[in-house]
Symmetry: C2
Subunit: 419 residues, 2 copies
């Protein structure tokens, strides 16, 4: 209770400072924001030894899995990549320099809808240190102040990285409160952030399912979250077999742990007898395992039988659910029932069927003849992303600089009054 109060008090102060900072930052010219980004990158390069030493402290105290350890670990090359990421953000177009609409009403009132920062963003993430640097850079460029709460395992690293951010802000003459980190890694601070209605305008969680679910369940602040990516690749009867093999191998196996990975193959019964054995052989060679329905096992009896729950499982590993369908209707129906509206693809040479698929799925990203692993801000041309949104308001899909903005109206009159 006492800790809770302390955390809440700290957040109140941090958020008030962030609000003031966001007003200055939101009106800072592009050149000021870019020079801060470049100064942050330089400071990070200059501080590289300190950052690595801080990371060594985190690693020394760490006792988790090898894959978690790999995400936590920094190297000189990874520090340089973070710095380069900030320089890259400085090169991107200004998301605040956009007039999104302009019109004049019969009474002469002239309306302009212009882009504007969201305000103060809370970022809650697990222990990959680069997420803090990327998020700081994206928020800064888009004019938003950010309060970062990283995982406890990476706290020393986060502090060292934040010092470089603050040095960059100072050199550019921007308030240090533009980029703040939580004072400690108590869970009470997360609770304070989730309860921070009116203090934070948006919370972005980045991490595993349990973190995201906790944030969505408890937050009193709008949340832009990435939930599940239960993605399908549908190989239609009129697919080019060579293309289908290349796409499926990439969509499933390029990286199995990313949210854009394909989890279920749907294949038309007309093409399954000839093509499914080739698809399975390709994937098996890459180390993939399978859960197949009865029709697929009629063709390849050695496959493990799928149960219903398999089609609702986001594997995030080298396992693929397989179902044979009788055509696009059944494919769309399966995706509507089992999908997570994240990313779904069709492989076909039939453009009418493709258009039916693109219009027929509710997925935030629907692809025709391409790998589901293209669901990524960089691949979309956004330059960088802060995450993928799976909700249905504000933004869907990759969240880049533009998605970190909102808009307002500027209305110019000549003395109009409302009748």
């Amino acid at each position: 209770m006492h800790i809770e109060t302390e955390a809440t008090q700290h957040l109140h102060r941090a958020a008030a400072a962030a609000r003031d900072a966001s007003r200055i930052l939101g009106r800072a010219p592009l050149e000021t924001r870019n020079s801060a980004l470049r100064a942050m990158a330089s400071a990070m390069r200059a501080d590289s030894d300190n950052i690595l030493a801080a990371n060594a402290l985190d690693l020394a105290a760490f006792s988790g899995s090898a894959s978690f350890r790999d995400r936590l670990a920094l190297t000189p090359a990874r520090v340089e990549a973070m710095a380069q990421g900030l320089d890259d953000i400085a090169e991107l177009p200004d998301p605040l320099a956009r007039t999104l609409g302009e019109w004049t009403r019969p009474n002469g009132l002239r309306f302009r809808r212009v882009a504007q920062p969201i305000g103060v963003i809370g970022m809650i993430y697990e222990s990959r240190p680069n997420v803090g640097a990327d998020a700081s850079g994206l928020c800064l460029k888009s004019g938003n102040a950010v309060i970062l709460r990283g995982g406890s395992e990476s706290h020393h690293s986060a502090r060292a990285i934040n010092a470089a951010m603050i040095e960059g802000l100072r050199q550019a003459g921007l308030p240090e409160a533009c980029v703040q980190i939580a004072p400690n890694t108590d869970r009470a601070y997360v609770a304070a952030m989730l309860g921070g209605a009116g203090l934070l305008d948006l919370i972005i969680p980045r991490g595993g399912k349990s973190l995201v679910e906790r944030v969505q369940r408890e937050a009193r602040v709008p949340v832009l979250a990435h939930a599940e990516g239960l993605n399908h690749t549908y190989v239609h009867a009129a697919a080019d077999p060579v293309m289908a093999r290349a796409i499926l191998a990439n969509a499933k196996m390029r990286r199995t742990s990313v949210c854009g990975a394909t989890e279920t193959l749907l294949i038309d019964q007309a093409i399954a007898p000839s093509l499914l054995p080739l698809l399975v052989a390709d994937l098996r060679e890459l180390g993939c395992d399978f859960r197949a329905d009865a029709a697929a096992r009629n063709i390849l009896p050695e496959l493990t039988a799928a149960n219903d729950a398999d089609y609702d499982t986001e594997w995030l590993e080298a396992t693929l659910s397989i179902r044979v369908v009788d055509g696009i209707g059944q494919a769309l129906d399966h995706i509507a029932r089992h999908g997570s509206e994240h990313t779904d693809a069709i492989v076909t040479e039939d453009s009418d069927i493709a258009e039916q698929f693109l219009r027929g799925v509710d997925s935030s990203v629907a692809l025709w003849n391409a790998s589901t692993q293209f669901c990524d801000g960089g691949e979309f041309g956004f330059g960088a992303e802060i995450g993928i949104a799976t909700g249905r308001i504000h933004a869907r899909g990759p969240v880049g600089l533009e998605q970190l903005t909102i808009y307002r109206y500027l209305v110019t009159g000549t003395g109009q009054i409302r009748p």
Copy 2:
């Protein structure tokens, strides 16, 4: 507890039906959606006697204030206005027919960002029966299924109106579950809606401050809410006095109870001695009362003294707070400290100062030489609005058809795989 469970079960069924209906509605051609709107309007005209009889039952049981009674009461003209509102929505452009962006990446992937319905919307409103009809029409046109929970005082009216909506859906061949109403007016149903994460995609509350605050506090679902409209009109030293008088009288007194009404006058000290007495005299003649700072009372000693809380008060009645400022800096500072980022106006002939004001306030609507009462979807040219959004994600200001949509990406390739 038993009631809670029953409400939750009903909501689960209603939301599942709404989800299925939304998939059909979201893909229905514009002509189908428009013909449903016109059939709804016809059914409402044909059912006018039934709707008025149901409304008479509500009025007979009603024992509240006269102004509440007026909002609750229907007349033949008000029923016709609701029907006309639906016909008007049918005339508006299709918000789903918009391609919001289109580009091709160096690897040949072609991206299209297209408008899409949000999905299933929950609307919680107080007892103005027309809100249910308007919301039904706007949601239908934008491809969203809606579940309406109106105030208990208007339940008979809401049911009768909903019958006309359903008749329209039936005639157009659309699922009846596109527009549903709560089965009763138990508060447990509101609780079920607020807890309906995954069932509802968005909740829009429309009503008094306590309703909106409860929704914002308890909702586990994204909320698009209208909070406070603590709006300012700033009369700059270079204002045209005649224009300033006309604008202020309109901004404050056209209707005092609307969210776009001006609550505080800020006036430059250079112009106050000559202009303030005229502004006050105009407003006093219209029945307005005042809370003024010391500088204003030096000019007009008969004014009531303002205390600090007055500048934080959304009057929504014929009272105006007045403060004399020493220039635009102090005006912007006052608005940042006391405003609600809703709607703020400047009156000046100096275009540099005006631009400084428009860029300097965070208001969702910033006006130059026009009345704050223009903050309205109809006045913006949206045709109709479901409310005003005061949050900082998804939408700010009037929420019309376009703001009831989101987007998704259609990506077309030729076999691209991700390196």
